[in-house]
Amino acid sequence: MRRYRERGVAGGVGMAKIVVDVMLKPEIRDPQGEAIAAACHRLGFAGVRSVRQGKRFEVEFDGETDPEAKAAELAEDLLANPVIEEFSIRRG
């Protein structure tokens, strides 16, 4: 299978790609991760101790002076659910 490299942003000046990772808070149960871990074991990946699944967003901004700050705002408003999730932001 093809692996991917982080791709630069195609556009020109003022363009920025920000990656927002959203994960369940560690104390919140992740049934999906548990089911995947169980599947790993059935498939013979005995060394897998735990799996947690989250979301990854690649957001392209255009003409923002502080795209990281904007992305953080966006994460709080829309991309993450503050009751059960937490997020981290970085340049893509």
Binding site: I28, R29, P31, V83
Partner: protein, 752 residues
């Protein structure tokens, strides 16, 4: 880490305990001490605090709820009644049905998706615990104003949560409600009903009997879910987290996460265990988790129980014994199994990938004993936990009720001519409350299991129970907070009447009632009065209808500050259908069929949809409930359905005749032409109870008229189906397309 033990409690009577932070009063704490003859251990305190909570003990409502039993009509159909996980009703042919409604209001406000999802999961386990296969769900939802920003957060999340959990579990969703009112803004109501079917002999009991029998916990692992209360306990004992370095203590989430896949496995696993007769007793784990399941199983049996808490499979090894007891981790059950059956039991669990662990044993000593790391941390008579205190709380008629009832809607501006009546119809039809609910219901699977005969938007859901005999069951839930605010007793009877009528509209015969009592704080005497009135109304209403209350649930403290929700009892009615092929549905499907109004119309606008939508007005008296008329109407419908006299049937409720006609036209994609006698506004929009609009099988008009006469049901021919307009002669005409546009566009515009 060592835990507070019984031995330690005996020698440290003076130790301060955080009982107040756990919600126990001074008197309750003193009662625990007097019952135990010593201070409780930390783990015991955890058990009492959750078992004596309002939610588990019904301490404010129990005194009133007794009326359901006392006033109940004698019923041979009741195989198990109030006090069980859910009531069980004999529906004939060897089948029994169990059903119950439960609330998950507060969790759904905090985290709409997971709150609503786990609400479905909880009620399904209640039904499963009775020995039945869960076969369908209904959901009854109330939110703040439809256009409020917070409703846009809460409603889509709640609906997605119910859709996620119910669909993934493979249960058809066959009905429910959706209503909006500012009183629910900070206190949405999310009530879910589950119904299950079994054979007569399949009934399971929630009791731990037979010394030596093994206690097995099965399903998900126990984690730190929903134990905010226990953190209080832990931090009070170990010092504030920051000081002690016990970082985990601060991170006990109050949000429970649902795993419908695990629940599906649990359902299939338990049904296989029942079929193989490997179970002596079983209890679901809901609120108060292991504390509640052990206490109730032990209290339900003769002897006692010994539990080794170290054997409880944990998701987080740092849990304290008190936390293990209070954890509300979802998708768990507790079973009592004879030693000889344990191996076979565990084998079935392995087949379904369900983790199952022996954690204790039934004893003969009458005590619930628990050990952890070699120390005895719990030693109590189980009944003291299972039967909490009972309160007779002060009650007072709300101070504003007289003025509210005096502010009748008589003075409000009414539509005076045809165009104004037409505009009123479109305004009501396009209001969030009356509008098409497909935005919600299209997210629910109602086909799965292949037994759904009727589902949303029909009046009642209808399921086929037996493919050979065509035996079926019908269900509906109803409530009306506005009516109940104006008169809790009559309002509750109106809700009962409506659910009963909805079931009757399918052609089924109503047989049993469940209820979810959603109210504000019982510590407010005015709320207590509302609760008492509602219960009185329901008990009397059921006696009048001749059907018993078989179970229910009470949800209190639905209020923000001093603002309580409208008193909102939600009533579920179960009916039996002898032949589902003869079911009736709301749509005008036959052309040229006579349209007949059944029942009597009075000028009744207090709490009406018209007053609410057009004038934002709430005042006066609600319509008069007429349960005798409901009963004769239902008998008539069953007879007419089985004789094949009707082409359609739809009950009248909020919005009156105008809304019912519009819905029958839209549902059947066929218009009608009618004329009404007397004041057209009253004829079209009054909300008098015990009414329906039907279309008669062409050629059978006289037979039907005779049947109505013999049942003493007023029947008024209004006109005929046909065409592509809804026409009220001498008043207005609306093309169906225009009606449809008004009806269908509202919810998508609000929530897409």
């Amino acid at each position: 880490m060592t835990a507070d033990s019984v031995a330690e409690a005996e020698v440290t009577p003076e130790r301060e305990q955080p009982y107040a932070a756990l919600g126990l009063t001074n008197a309750e704490y003193a009662l625990i001490i007097s019952q135990l003859g010593r201070r409780p251990t930390e783990s015991e305190l955890a058990i009492y605090s959750v078992m004596w909570s309002e939610h588990c003990s019904y301490k404010s409502s129990r005194k009133h709820l007794r009326q359901f039993g006392e006033k109940a009509p004698p019923s041979a159909a009741l195989l198990a009644g109030i006090g069980q996980n859910a009531g069980v009703v004999d529906i004939g042919q060897g089948y029994a049905v169990t059903f119950k409604i439960e609330s998950h209001n507060h969790p759904s406000y905090v985290e709409p998706f997971q709150g609503a999802a786990t609400g479905v999961g909880g009620i399904v386990r209640d039904i499963l615990a009775m020995g039945a296969r869960p076969v369908a769900i209904l959901d009854s939802l109330r939110f703040g104003p439809a256009d409020a920003p917070d409703t846009r957060r809460v409603l889509p999340g709640v609906v997605a949560g119910i859709s996620f959990y119910g669909n993934c579990l493979g249960l058809p969703n066959i009905g429910g409600e959706l209503a909006f009112d500012p009183c629910y803004a900070g206190n949405p109501l999310v009530n879910a009903l589950c119904v299950g079917v079994m054979r007569h002999g399949d009934l399971q009991v929630a009791a731990a009997d037979g010394p030596g029998n093994q206690v097995i916990l099965l399903g998900s692992r126990t984690g730190p879910d929903g134990i905010g209360g226990a953190s209080v306990l832990a931090s009070a004992t170990f010092g504030a987290p920051s000081e002690s370095g016990n970082g985990h203590l601060a991170k006990r989430p109050s949000v429970q996460v649902g795993d419908p896949f695990m629940e599906k496995l649990l359902v299939e696993c338990c049904l296989e265990l029942y079929a193989a007769e490997l179970i002596e007793g079983i209890q679901d784990l809901g609120a108060a988790g292991i504390a509640c399941a052990t206490a109730e199983l032990a209290a339900g049996g003769e002897g006692g129980m010994r539990v080794t808490l170290d054997d409880v499979p944990l998701r987080d090894p740092s849990l304290t014994p008190a936390e293990i007891l209070m954890s509300e981790s979802q998708e768990r059950m507790m079973a009592v199994v004879t030693p000889a059956s344990v191996e076979a039991f565990l084998k079935v669990c392995r087949k379904w990938d369900v983790e199952a662990t022996v954690i204790g044993e039934v004893t003969g000593d009458g005590t619930l004993t628990m050990t952890w790391r070699g120390r005895t941390v719990v030693s109590i008579p189980p009944r003291t936990a299972a039967d909490g205190p009972v309160y007779q709380r002060p009650m007072a008629r709300p101070a504003d009720l007289d003025s509210l009832q005096a502010a009748a809607p008589d003075g409000l501006d009414r539509p005076k001519d045809g165009p104004a009546l037409r505009a009123t119809l479109l305004a009501l039809l396009g209001s969030a409350e009356e509008a098409d609910k497909s935005w919600v219901t299209a997210q629910y699977d109602h086909y799965v299991r292949g037994s759904t005969v009727l589902a949303m938007p029909e009046d009642g859901g209808l399921l086929r129970v037996d493919e050979q005999t065509q035996l079926g069951i019908a269900l509906a839930t109803d409530g009306n907070g506005r009516y109940c605010r104006l008169d809790p007793s009559h309002g509750t009877q109106l809700a009962l009447g409506e659910a009963y009528r909805n079931v009757a509209m399918t052609g089924a015969t109503p047989v049993a009632v469940t209820n979810c009592l959603n109210f504000g704080s019982p510590e407010d005497p005015q709320v207590m009065w509302q609760l008492a009135e509602a219960v009185r109304g329901l008990a009397d209403g059921c006696a009048a209808l001749g059907i018993p209350v078989t179970g229910g649930n009470v949800s209190l403290y639905n209020q923000t500050g001093d603002n309580a929700i409208h008193p909102t009892p939600v009533i579920g009615v179960l009916g039996v259908h002898d032949d589902v092929r003869r079911r009736l549905a709301a749509g005008f499907t036959a052309g040229g069929a006579q349209v007949v109004l059944l029942g009597a119309t009075r000028e009744e606008f207090g709490g009406s949809a018209w007053a609410h939508v057009v004038h934002q007005h709430l005042g006066g008296r609600p319509p008069v409930p007429d349960l005798y008329a409901e009963r004769t109407l239902a008998t008539l419908m069953a007879a007419a359905a089985s004789d094949g006299l009707l082409a359609s049937a739809h009950d009248l409720s909020t919005g009156g005749l105008a809304i019912a006609l519009a819905e029958s036209c839209l549902r059947g994609a066929r218009g009608c032409r009618v004329s009404v006698a007397g004041d057209p506004f009253t004829a079209l929009f009054s909300e008098s109870a015990a009414r329906a609009v039907v279309s008669v099988t062409p050629g059978r008009e006289d037979e039907f008229a005779a049947l109505c006469a013999s049942h003493g049901v007023p029947a008024t021919p209004l006109g005929e189906t046909g065409g592509d307009t809804l026409t009220v002669e001498a008043a207005f005409e609306v093309p169906l397309d225009e009606l449809r546009q008004a009806w269908e566009s509202t919810l998508p515009a609000l929530f897409d």
